[in-house]
């Protein structure tokens, strides 16, 4: 049986990034993971925007925020990675995505406020290029038309216009999506726009409504794997800049990311075992032996080292029974509130965030998770991403950035 250099457990941002970085470094990589991680992504690559969360202090410069965070929260996983490593990691990651049709854009050392499906503004570091014109339009408060569709439940243009009263030149229109009726689903709409004729039909419906608009915004449905082509074509057809607004997840952003990785990683020699969860793990001096999947179709995998990027509860890296939180694969000790009564706060929107969201794995400086004895569990087991303790990616706005950066660091520490 082949022994791989690295087994990457997980296929969310951290897992995908770890597989990518490891493969780029010439290592033989095998990856397991389920859907549910990256598939629910908004597509934003947050780095860090809020710290301290209790004060809800929002930073424009993520690196300044990182500095403050490293000062205030020495256990935060970001303290294990340097600014340079973060930048290199993001660059390598977005380069790869760019090669596979997903272009990213942001401002140097500055967070950008991006429009969400709720009409709120979310500070993020890098965002899909298809959204960029929207950032500009909003910043300029330009005459803009946002189009939404009958039957698409994930986005209300009118809601955005109502919430964004600070953007008075925002107009909205609801139209029928060409060739489809009833309930619409973003992925289907996106696929259908692979057909240039369909785009022309769409543009024809929008053009008369957009006479006064300088920009036209659509829900994120402009293409699946060919977004830049579709966007450019729509701009040509409409004669003005066009942008997308993310819809309520699960949106098209997740499938786009997955498609890019599904296409790109095997090309780098990564052996992927998607939808196979690790059901057994043994470690020894020499490395690891895993069983993925169960029953007659399980596969045995040997690897010298492993990166645990299995995510949190939804990613199934952590599991919770009525009393405790467990790490799903190695049963590593999980830092957690003392009892379930402390997991969540009485108010959902409590600015403190919920304690359970900071539960996770403790690691050493090389992101090696610690065992029960407080020492690294295994010399070549590293952890990356949301499974790490002392971070609340949702409240700090650091999800993808933290995942990519820690994956980078974990691979570098192999």
């Amino acid at each position: 049986m082949k022994t791989y250099d690295v087994m990457v457990i997980g296929s969310g941002f951290a897992g995908m990034a770890a597989a990518l970085f490891a493969a780029n470094r010439g290592l033989s990589v095998v990856q397991t993971g389920a859907t549910g991680g990256i598939d629910f992504s908004t597509g934003f690559i947050d780095l860090l925007a809020v710290h301290p969360i209790a004060e809800q202090k929002v930073w424009e410069d993520p690196f300044a925020a990182l500095a403050a965070l490293r000062r205030d929260l020495p256990a935060h996983p970001y303290c294990r990675v340097s600014d340079d490593e973060i930048s290199l990691a993001l660059q390598e990651f977005t380069n790869f995505l760019g090669q596979h049709g997903l272009c990213y854009r942001g401002r140097d050392k500055k967070n950008t406020l991006a429009l969400t499906s709720a009409g709120t503004l979310k500070p993020t570091y890098l965002l899909p290029c298809t959204l960029w014109n929207g950032v500009e339009a909003r910043e300029k408060k330009a005459n803009t038309l946002i189009v939404d569709f009958h039957g698409l439940k994930g986005l209300s243009a009118r809601q955005i216009a109502e919430v964004r009263k600070d953007w008075p030149n925002l107009k909205t229109a609801r139209i029928n999506f060409p060739g489809m009726g009833g309930e619409l689903y973003p992925e289907h709409m996106a696929w259908s726009l692979a057909d240039p004729a369909r785009r022309a039909e769409l543009a024809e419906m929008v053009a008369p409504l957009a006479v006064e608009a300088q920009y036209v915004g659509f829900p994120a449905i402009l293409g699946m794997t060919d977004t830049s082509i579709v966007l450019r074509h729509m701009e040509e057809l409409l004669g003005r800049p066009v942008f997308e607004i993310p819809t309520l997840p699960p949106s098209i952003a997740g499938p786009r990311l997955r498609a890019a990785f599904d296409r790109g990683l095997p090309g780098l020699g990564v052996r992927t075992c998607t939808q196979k969860l690790v059901t057994r793990a043994e470690s020894s001096e020499a490395g690891f032996h895993f069983t993925a999947g169960s029953g007659s179709t399980s596969v045995d995998i040997s690897a010298r080292s492993a990166i645990l990027a299995s995510g949190r509860f939804f990613g199934k890296g952590l599991k919770a029974d009525r009393h405790h939180i467990h790490e799903a694969i190695f049963d590593l000790p999980v830092t957690q509130p003392e009892n379930r009564g402390r997991w969540h706060r009485p108010a959902f929107f409590d600015p403190q965030g919920h304690e359970i969201n900071q539960a996770g794995l403790e690691t050493d400086a090389g992101l090696r998770p610690l065992g029960a004895d407080g020492k690294p569990f295994h010399p070549r087991l590293h952890a990356a991403g949301a499974i790490l303790a002392h971070q609340d990616w949702m409240r700090m706005k650091c999800g993808a950035g933290l995942a990519i950066a820690t994956a980078y660091k974990a691979v570098a520490s192999l």
Partner: protein, 276 residues
């Protein structure tokens, strides 16, 4: 290597070329095929009756077990249903008992260990054999691979390849010297299962895939499943909106230097000019 060859019902009348080409390729590669008289794999009746479908599959597997051979089929639907049947009896003791009774009626033992392989897996298992046997690499032929749902998904039952990023087909196409182009819809359904049930949707599914394959710039759409080929082949698609659908066994056969006639390729098939 010896296999019990399970052609599936559709080959004999509806797609003899598939049987011809698979048998020719196997013969050429020295893969011996035994041909006991199998029954239906149970896939077509799976819509109607679970027991009938599972029993149908197990009966053929029991025949393989008696021969002590692995089963090899060139059809993804047959493959998928065999795997499904085994999965079902593996997870339902009562069903297994019922099946054992029915098999015993025909003097057959329950096929505890019979392995089911698809033609592509068999080729992949014998890569070096194939590699050494290629005489006329199909350089210049651009292929869009169509995976076929029932082998690919659900992976935890079929265990064919990664269900999201499979590579087996592209790897094998590469062996023939042709180039496999990436395209978006390679894992999507051909729509055949809805033939005779919902012709509109069946047609739309096939047309969408064909359009995608054509847009990818490929010369041919390669299939490795009788049903998929039936759906894409023939005169189902307007030449302006489609590319020829070709059986992978025929592409491989040409690469091995076999005569088109032996592979069931009709003299009029234009794509052959692109090949060779």
């Amino acid at each position: 290597m010896k296999y019990a060859y399970f052609p599936g019902c559709k080959i004999a009348h509806h797609l003899p070329a598939h049987g011809k080409s698979v048998e020719a390729v196997c013969a050429h590669l020295g893969l011996e095929l035994h041909k006991p008289e199998f029954s239906c794999c149970g896939y077509p009746v799976r819509q109607e009756s679970r027991d009938a479908s599972v029993y149908s599959a197990l009966r053929s597997l029991a025949l393989c077990a008696r021969l002590g051979l692995e089963l090899m089929t060139p059809c993804k639907c047959c493959f998928g249903n065999f795997r499904h049947a085994l999965h079902q009896v593996g997870h339902d003791e009562k069903l297994k008992l019922r099946m054992k009774d029915l098999l015993a009626d025909e003097g057959l033992d329950f096929p505890e260990t019979t392995r089911v392989r698809h033609f592509l897996q068999v080729l992949d298992d014998n890569r070096s054999l194939v590699e050494d046997a290629v005489r006329r690499p199909q350089k210049g032929l651009k292929v869009a691979c169509h995976y076929g749902c029932h082998a690919l998904r659900p992976e935890n039952i079929t265990h064919f390849d990664d269900p999201f990023a499979p590579t087996i087909f592209e790897r094998l196409v590469a062996l023939t010297g042709a180039s496999a182009l990436p395209w978006d819809l390679s894992l999507e359904c051909c729509g055949y299962p809805l033939r005779g049930r919902d012709e509109t949707i069946s047609g739309l599914l096939a047309a969408r895939k064909m359009a995608g394959a054509k847009a990818s710039g490929a010369d041919v759409l390669a299939t490795a499943c009788t049903y998929c080929q039936l759906q894409f082949g023939g005169e189902n698609h307007h030449p302006d909106q489609s590319i020829p659908a070709v059986l992978f066994s025929q592409i491989l056969g040409l690469a091995l230097g076999l005569e088109p006639k032996r592979l069931g390729i009709e003299p009029g098939e234009a794509w052959v000019r692109l090949a060779v």
